[in-house]
């Protein structure tokens, strides 16, 4: 209760306030540095060639990421074809029948799958698919689909929970069977939220390179069949970053720039939309 003790207490109080804000600055500095550097070093690589030329051969000057863009779109498309329906249906199950014993297990395993290292998921896809048909888009898409499922499932479940019960009850009162109200009424009402969940999942896998690496490896050419690999933008960054070639390194930064713009762009748009909804 001495004066010194009091002073010390208040000093500690102010110190913590300072430290908390310093921590915030420390945490955000890498973000701004990454964004700045990616922009600064990547913008130089962006040109028309960047978007229309495929991966340059070793020793070749210039080049672009056109084939990687093509490959990424194909892979994400195929992965979504598998992952989105399963994710949505799982989300429907969890929201409609969420009280059952089975749903607690599904939720638990969803969480485990969500926390799995993506490279391990890739190894699984390798052992399941690539080992039989070789490094391929199919194997990679399967791995990426597995990553999408928990994200889409959770988004669907949350979205359905937000649909007011009154809307469902109105449909039920008109004689619609429950399952139809889920699909045609609730899901319809939730479609925006579900769509944003799907978008976020796509943004997430666009940035994944580890599972793609072990299921597809590198590919420097255009799409050549579902049983062959394709070029993947995020993976290209990995390949180019470690190389000694100037133009490859430039391509790495350029790819990083468009990846970051698209992925962060989607995240920003989605979050802004979700915020409007809550108001």
């Amino acid at each position: 209760m001495t004066k010194l003790h009091e002073w010390f207490r208040h000093l500690k109080d102010k110190l913590v306030l300072l430290l908390a804000h310093l921590a915030l600055i420390a945490a955000l500095t890498p973000l701004f540095s990454v964004l700045w550097e990616v922009f600064r070093r990547g913008i130089g690589a962006i040109s028309l060639d960047f978007f229309v030329k495929p991966t340059p051969a070793v020793g070749e000057v210039g080049g672009g990421v056109a084939n990687a863009i093509q490959g990424t779109l194909i892979t994400i498309g195929l992965a979504s074809l598998i992952g989105v329906p399963i994710g949505i249906i799982t989300g429907i199950f969890l929201s409609e029948y969420g009280e059952t014993r089975l749903s607690s297990f599904v939720r638990l395993f969803n969480e485990l799958l969500n926390g799995m290292p993506s490279i391990v998921i890739g190894l699984f896809a390798y052992a399941l698919i690539a080992i039989k048909i070789g490094f391929s888009v199919t194997a990679a898409s399967f791995a990426l689909a597995l990553i999408m499922i928990p994200i889409v499932s959770r988004a669907t479940e949350e979205a359905l929970k937000l649909v007011p019960a009154t809307i469902r009850e109105a449909a039920l009162a008109l004689g619609m069977p429950r399952w139809k109200t889920t699909i045609f009424v609730a899901l319809k009402g939730a479609r925006k939220a579900v769509a944003t969940g799907v978008l976020l999942a796509m943004a997430r896998i666009a940035g994944e390179s580890a599972p793609v690496l072990v299921t597809m490896g590198y590919w420097k050419w255009w799409f050549a069949g579902f049983d062959r690999p394709v070029a993947y933008l995020a993976l290209n960054i990995f390949l180019f970053a470690k190389s000694p070639f100037e133009n490859w390194i430039a391509l790495a930064w350029g790819s990083a720039l468009i990846l970051v713009v698209i992925i962060l762009g989607i995240n920003v748009v989605v979050r802004l939309l979700m915020r409007e909804k809550r108001l």
Partner: protein, 333 residues
């Protein structure tokens, strides 16, 4: 909520026989039941998938397991040419880099969470939270790229030399500095796991009952003393967030392999020395491995990582469940 399927089943029994749906009264094949079964089957595929994951990784590791058995876990050699593989250095590398990451990320995440939930007005807090969440959306590969060309030179020129000159008498901080290595990997991982940890903690603090801090303030506590009470209350949640961060750090492959130096050795000579982790060796060697035993050993490493990760995730879940029980009990009072 209307008991959709149950009441519609009962209704069938009581409907007059002239009712259009009376004919289906005795069947179980109502639309609702089929729907429920269908969604249940699809949802359960996740359980199947995780089981298959363990199984197939086990299958892929069989050659390695047959040759090395449990010795794989303590083996310290990795030589594809001679066909000798051991994972101990990888496990150590994973644990140490993750521990470094947590050591850095935990206090920082705590500070960020406090700044966002306690010290900032709501609108400002929302803006900054938004940026912190954006950190989580940056792809690992981009962090790795930034790590190689921005972080490493920075650490090599500006940060590490003074550390070595001041603390070089400790072996941990002596040795050649090339910029990458154990400490760099730990730091990069810390940057990557901070957003998740701080987001969880921030939500934890926002959800903590305000009566806690109010009671402390009424006793003449300073704001920090009141916050300490809240942190005490939220301790299980903080542990859960930490465990989740640990899991994430252990599984990160690309960013780590790009900055850690990828040197297979039982122990590094210092924090500035290169090393290896389970995830990093997979990213680095898998596609180039052609020898069957080599591939099998790598998948074995993957299986090991899977198992360790599952254990960590389940522990996190258990901590959360216990927290819910305790908090739920208090809330009911």
């Amino acid at each position: 909520m209307v008991n959709g399927d149950r009441s519609s089943q009962k209704a069938h029994i009581f409907l007059p026989t002239c009712h259009p749906r009376a004919g289906k009264a005795k069947t179980l094949l109502t639309g609702d039941n089929v729907f429920k079964a269908f969604t249940a089957v699809v949802a359960s595929s996740i359980i199947l998938i995780l089981g298959l994951m363990v199984y197939y990784l086990y299958l892929g590791s069989r050659s390695s397991i047959e040759k090395f058995g449990l010795v794989f876990l303590i083996g310290v050699d990795w030589d594809p040419v001679r066909g000798v593989f051991g994972a101990l250095p990888l496990v150590l590398g994973t644990l140490v880099t993750s521990a470094i990451a947590l050591l850095i990320a935990l206090p920082i995440s705590l500070g960020v969470a406090l700044a966002l939930s306690e010290y900032m007005p709501k609108r400002l807090s929302n803006v900054f939270s938004f940026f912190v969440e954006l950190l989580a959306a940056v792809p690992s590969v981009v962090y790795g790229l930034w790590g190689i060309y921005v972080l490493i030179p920075f650490l090599r020129e500006v940060v590490y030399p003074p550390i070595r000159s001041s603390f070089g008498f400790i072996p941990l901080f002596s040795g050649p500095i090339y910029g990458g290595g154990v400490l760099t990997a730990g730091l990069l991982l810390a940057i990557m796991i901070t957003p998740i940890m701080s987001a969880i903690m921030r939500d934890l603090f926002i959800l903590a009952p305000s009566t806690l801090k109010e009671a402390a303030m009424a006793l003449g506590a300073t704001k920090w003393e009141a916050i300490k009470v809240m942190i005490n209350y939220a301790q299980s949640g903080i542990v859960a967030a930490t465990v989740l961060g640990l899991g994430r750090a252990m599984g990160e492959a690309m960013a780590v392999t790009m900055v850690i130096g990828n040197r297979f050795q039982l122990l590094p000579s210092s924090l500035f020395d290169a090393w290896y982790t389970m995830a990093a060796i997979l990213a680095n060697e898998f596609i180039e491995a052609i020898d069957h035993l080599h591939i099998s050993a790598l998948i074995n490493v993957g299986l090991l990582l899977l198992v360790i990760n599952l254990v960590v995730l389940i522990c996190a879940r258990l901590v959360v469940w216990r927290h819910m029980k305790v908090v739920g009990g208090i809330m009911r009072e």
